[in-house]
Each structure stands twice: as structure tokens, then as C-alpha cells.
């Protein structure tokens, strides 16, 4: 479904992503992990179209996305959240989600309905008329997901949506991802919560200094000596 081919991103004096290649198959949940500064979010920006790679390409459902901007990529079925949340602060929660539904081609009335259904699904319906910037961070993260879901994506890029959540909330989020996945949505997930990602991911990619260090099933990846040394520094017990 998604194919990232030898993507390199050079910022001034810094190679953020270094010949990264990987694929995500339809129906998978793929985890993307790596230490801070490994280039995970930059890679997301390349896939969603906010950053143009210095070289390499991104294919989605067999089509080259190189010449498409973020809006067109979203309309093709790529939804994303932002690690540093970007709510439309002055708008209500409902209006935030409506924007996502409107770009699917729905009219305002229909989009409002889609937004309500989406909010309910994410347990945000109590905050329908709350102005987005007054939501606490955990809920703003959920709003990110709601907004992206409302666009009706085929592939969802989640950028650390579990940071700062308590264990109950993490569990809720994991079940939601699995539920949506069962309904056919494909996921690429950046996550620092190792325990969480290992529970849901079918495949895990480890990014280090911009390059894909290793990819494979969670159990294999966590046992890899290289991963342990560069990323974790010490063995994981809970996996």
C-alpha cells in the first residue's frame, strides 16, 4: 500500500533521513520507533507531503506521490496526526473535525453529522462545543485522531498519540486502533511507549540517525542486539 523508496532528507548541514526504504502492506499496523532525532517525524512529513525529500520517492497504492501536496495526498487516503498537536485553536471541537469531513466532499450538514459520529467514537462528544485550545493535551491528541479519521483515510499515520496518557487511556487508544484496523484501516505508528507498540504492531521499523536499522516482528526487533545498544541502551523486560 505504502512504499517508501530510498528517501533522503537533507536539512542545512544535517541529514535527517538517510536512504530510508520500507513498505506498509494493506491492513497492517506498523510501528516506527527510534531514539529522539532519528528522523521519524521527518519521515512522516515526507509521506504526508509537508517535506519534499532531497532524493527518493513515496508510492501509495502504486502511484508516485512526488508531485502531490499534502492536501491531495490526504484526498488519496493518507491521514495523519501531529506529535506537536495543531488544533484549530479558535474553533470548537466539532468544527475542527468538520474540516476533515468537508474535504471528503461532504456538504456542511453532512460533515457535521460525520463529525458527531467521529467524536462519539473517540469519546469526545462531551466536548463537542468546547473551544479546541481549552482542551487538555491528552484530549487535543485525541482530537488530532478524530480530525484525521473524519477525512476517511485508508492509511493513518499516528505520531506519538499515546505520550502523556495514563495506562487506562493507553489501553483505550490501543483498542480503538485495533478496532479501526479490523475495519480495514492501515496504520503506521510512531510511538515511544514500547510496551504499547509491541502489543499492536505486526511489524516494527527501527530508525536510527535517519536510516532504517532493522525491521521485523516486534519479538525479533526487541531481541536484536543492535537495537538494544543504539536505541534502548539496555534490554527490555516487559516485551
Amino acid at each position: 500500500m505504502l512504499e517508501v523508496r530510498a528517501v533522503t532528507v537533507d536539512f542545512v548541514g544535517l541529514r535527517a533521513v538517510d536512504h530510508a526504504s520500507f513498505t506498509v502492506e494493506k491492513g497492517q499496523i506498523v510501528g516506527l520507533i527510534g531514539p529522539n532525532g532519528a528522523g521519524k517525524t521527518t519521515l512522516f512529513n515526507v509521506v504526508s507531503g509537508l517535506v519534499r525529500p532531497s532524493s527518493g520517492s513515496v508510492m501509495f497504492e502504486g502511484k508516485d506521490l512526488s508531485h502531490l501536496g499534502p492536501a491531495d495526498r490526504n484526498r488519496m487516503g493518507i491521514g495523519r496526526t501531529f506529535q506537536v498537536v495543531k488544533p484549530f485553536g479558535g474553533l470548537t471541537v466539532l468544527d475542527n473535525v468538520m474540516v476533515g469531513a468537508l474535504t471528503r466532499g461532504q456538504g456542511p450538514a453532512e460533515a457535521r453529522e460525520t463529525a458527531r459520529v467521529t467524536l462519539k467514537r473517540l469519546g469526545l462528544e462531551r466536548f463537542t462545543d468546547t473551544v479546541a485550545h481549552s482542551l487538555p493535551l491528552a484530549l487535543r491528541k485525541r482530537l488530532e485522531v478524530a480530525r484525521a479519521l473524519a477525512t476517511g483515510p485508508k492509511l493513518m499515520l499516528l505520531d506519538e498519540i499515546m505520550g502523556g496518557l495514563n495506562p487506562t487511556e493507553v489501553n483505550e487508544t490501543l483498542s480503538l486502533v485495533q478496532e479501526l484496523n479490523a475495519e480495514g484501516l492501515t496504520f503506521l505508528v510512531i510511538e515511544h511507549n514500547m510496551n504499547a507498540i509491541m502489543r499492536i504492531a505486526e511489524k516494527v521499523l527501527v530508525l536510527n540517525q535517519g536510516a532504517v536499522l532493522i525491521e521485523g516482528p516486534p519479538a525479533v526487533v526487541t531481541r536484536d542486539a543492535q537495537v538494544i545498544s543504539v536505541y534502548l541502551g539496555e534490554p527490555i523486560e516487559s516485551a
Partner: protein, 334 residues
């Protein structure tokens, strides 16, 4: 349970409030017979429309334009020149001017959509100044600083009226048109896109909002409506020159009116015109000259400091307090 009354913020309450306001405005010429006040009222209507037009690109989309006098001028000159040179009635000229200004607005939108903050402001400012310079120097077409005098010919079919009340209704029609379009945009898909882009462009794009299309359409609509105001202004004053149509000070005044009233809201610019225009006029008449400008500037500062989100925010706050007061009064009765 509090009794549900049609509040001003509910859709039905809004419709009632608009209807009441419209009826009141329709009655104004019947009540106000004094030419001076009616004249001032017409000026307020034109400015309210102009600020509303500005607000579509600046308030909703967040691109603070300091070049909107250019579109006002294009509207005023297009309809006046079509009338003077080709005998085409301003009733048609207003739409030709709107089309021309709309195209110019779209062009400016295409050039500036990438620019942010002060860079966008400077680009629009430069654009306005260029149009003004062209206006002053293209004497063959515009007669430059000499200006254009609209001869009183033909009457109503040429948007030229022997009495002020007819101008009042023309101005009111203009205001209903601009506010109507402004409300329609606010509730449409485009309105949501513009506000989303204003709040966070990257997030909006990632949700499928197309930046160029949305911003260019907004810029074109805004410019076209500003041109309509220009055309009506020209037939009302019957004399236009670069100083009264395309000058930089005018662009600042447009922004000022909308900001004082509350940019980004539908009624803010209208309220702003109702405050700023009479204030300037009364000071000019009573105090006069330089001192008037000093007092004017001072009062504007006071208003902006007292209501940083615009006068409309203050009005809403008072409305909410009154409602709460009434609600508690009702509870006390029961």
C-alpha cells in the same frame, strides 16, 4: 430548567435579529430628515460594506491586507469610466468593476498566498501603492489627479438620484449583498477552510484543504465586493480622484474599521463602521483640523485597548451579562 428563549446566538434568534435590524434600517430615511445625518449614514453603509469585503480575506483567511483601496478604486473608476466614455449605466458598471477587481484580487492572491504575516502585509501594501501610482499617472484613462466628475444625467437608471434616501437604499442594498455573501461564505465549506488555514496551515493541508484554491477564491470575492462599494461610492459622491479612492490612507482606514469592530466576525466590520466613521466625521465637524485627528487617534487607541477583540466582542459580553441578569431575575420571580 431555565426557560429556553430564542437567544441571539441561536440560528432562529439570529434570523429574527437580522430581520429586525433590516426593518429598522429600511425606516431610517422616514425618520431622519436631516440631510447631514442621512449623508453620514450612507457613508457608514458604504464603509460597512467595504470593511465587510476586506474581512472576507483578512478576517476569515487571516491575510491582513493593506492594499484594499486598490480594489475600491478599480470599482469606482471602472463603473465611472464606463458611464462617462461609453454611456454604460453604473448598474452594469458595478458588476464589470467587480469582475475586474476580482480578477486582480485573484492575481494578487496567486502571488501572495505563500507569504506569511508581515511579508503578506507588505506585499499588499506595495500592490496598493502601485495601483495608486498607476491611477495618478495614467492620465489618458483616469485623468490623474484632476479626477472624474460624474455629470447628473438620466437619474435612477444610472444610479444617480436627486434625493438622498435613494442613495440610502442603494447603500443598504450593497450592505445586504456584502453581509449576505459574508455569511454564506462563513457557513460554507470555503469558510471552514479559510478559518482552518488561518488557525494552522499545515494541519489544514494535511486534512485535505487546498491552500491556493481557498485563498485565491477568498481574495477574489473580497476584491470584487470592495469594488462594488467603490462603484456605489462614486455615484454617491459623483466625483472621484486618486486621493479619495486608491490612496494608502484609505487602505489603512478599511483595516482599521474592521479591526475596531472585530475582524473575523460577520458583524464586526459593520459595527466598526458605525463607530469609526461617525466618530471621525463628528470630530472633524466639531473640533476640526489637526486637533480632531489627535483626538480621533486617541479615541481609537482607547477603543482598541478596551476591546482588543473588537467592539463586537464587547457587545456580545454585555449581551451575555444581560441575559444572565434576566435569567436570574426570572428565577427570583419563580
Amino acid at each position: 430548567m431555565p426557560i429556553k428563549s430564542a437567544s441571539l446566538t441561536s440560528p432562529s434568534g439570529q434570523r429574527i435579529a437580522f430581520a429586525v435590524a433590516l426593518v429598522l434600517l429600511l425606516c431610517v430615511p422616514l425618520v431622519i430628515r436631516d440631510i447631514y445625518w442621512l449623508d453620514l449614514g450612507i457613508t457608514v453603509l458604504i464603509w460597512a460594506s467595504l470593511a465587510t469585503a476586506w474581512n472576507i480575506s483578512a478576517g476569515f483567511a487571516g491575510g491582513l491586507s493593506l492594499g484594499h483601496a486598490a480594489f475600491f478604486g478599480v470599482g469606482a473608476y471602472t463603473s465611472s469610466l464606463l458611464f462617462l466614455r461609453l454611456g454604460i449605466t453604473p448598474w452594469i458598471g458595478v458588476f464589470v468593476g467587480a469582475l475586474l477587481a476580482g480578477a486582480l484580487g485573484a492575481l494578487l492572491g496567486v502571488i501572495t498566498f505563500r507569504l506569511k504575516g508581515p511579508f503578506f502585509v507588505l506585499a499588499t501594501l506595495a500592490f496598493g501603492i502601485v495601483v495608486h501610482i498607476v491611477n495618478v499617472n495614467w492620465r489618458d484613462l483616469t485623468r490623474g489627479a484632476a479626477g472624474l466628475l460624474l455629470p447628473f444625467r438620466g437619474g435612477p437608471q444610472n444610479m444617480l438620484f436627486p434625493n438622498l434616501w435613494a442613495y440610502w437604499y442603494t447603500g443598504l442594498g450593497l450592505l445586504v449583498l456584502t453581509v449576505g455573501i459574508s455569511i454564506a461564505i462563513e457557513r460554507s465549506r470555503l469558510g471552514y477552510y479559510l478559518v482552518a488555514l488561518r488557525e494552522d496551515e499545515d494541519a489544514a493541508r494535511s486534512l485535505g484543504v487546498r491552500v491556493v484554491r481557498s485563498k485565491v477564491v477568498a481574495a477574489a470575492l473580497s476584491a470584487a465586493l470592495a469594488a462594488c462599494a467603490g462603484a456605489v461610492y462614486a455615484t454617491f459622491i459623483q466625483y472621484i480622484d486618486p486621493d479619495s479612492t486608491t490612496q494608502f490612507e484609505l487602505s489603512v482606514q478599511i483595516a482599521l474599521v474592521a479591526i475596531v469592530g472585530g475582524m473575523g466576525t460577520t458583524l464586526g466590520p459593520v459595527l466598526g463602521a458605525a463607530i469609526v466613521i461617525p466618530l471621525g466625521e463628528i470630530l472633524r465637524a466639531r473640533v476640526g483640523g489637526g486637533p480632531a485627528l489627535v483626538v480621533y487617534g486617541f479615541l481609537l487607541m482607547v477603543i482598541v485597548l478596551a476591546a482588543p477583540n473588537g467592539a463586537i466582542a464587547g457587545v456580545r459580553l454585555i449581551g451575555r451579562r444581560l441575559r444572565r441578569l434576566m435569567d436570574s431575575g426570572r428565577k427570583a420571580d419563580a
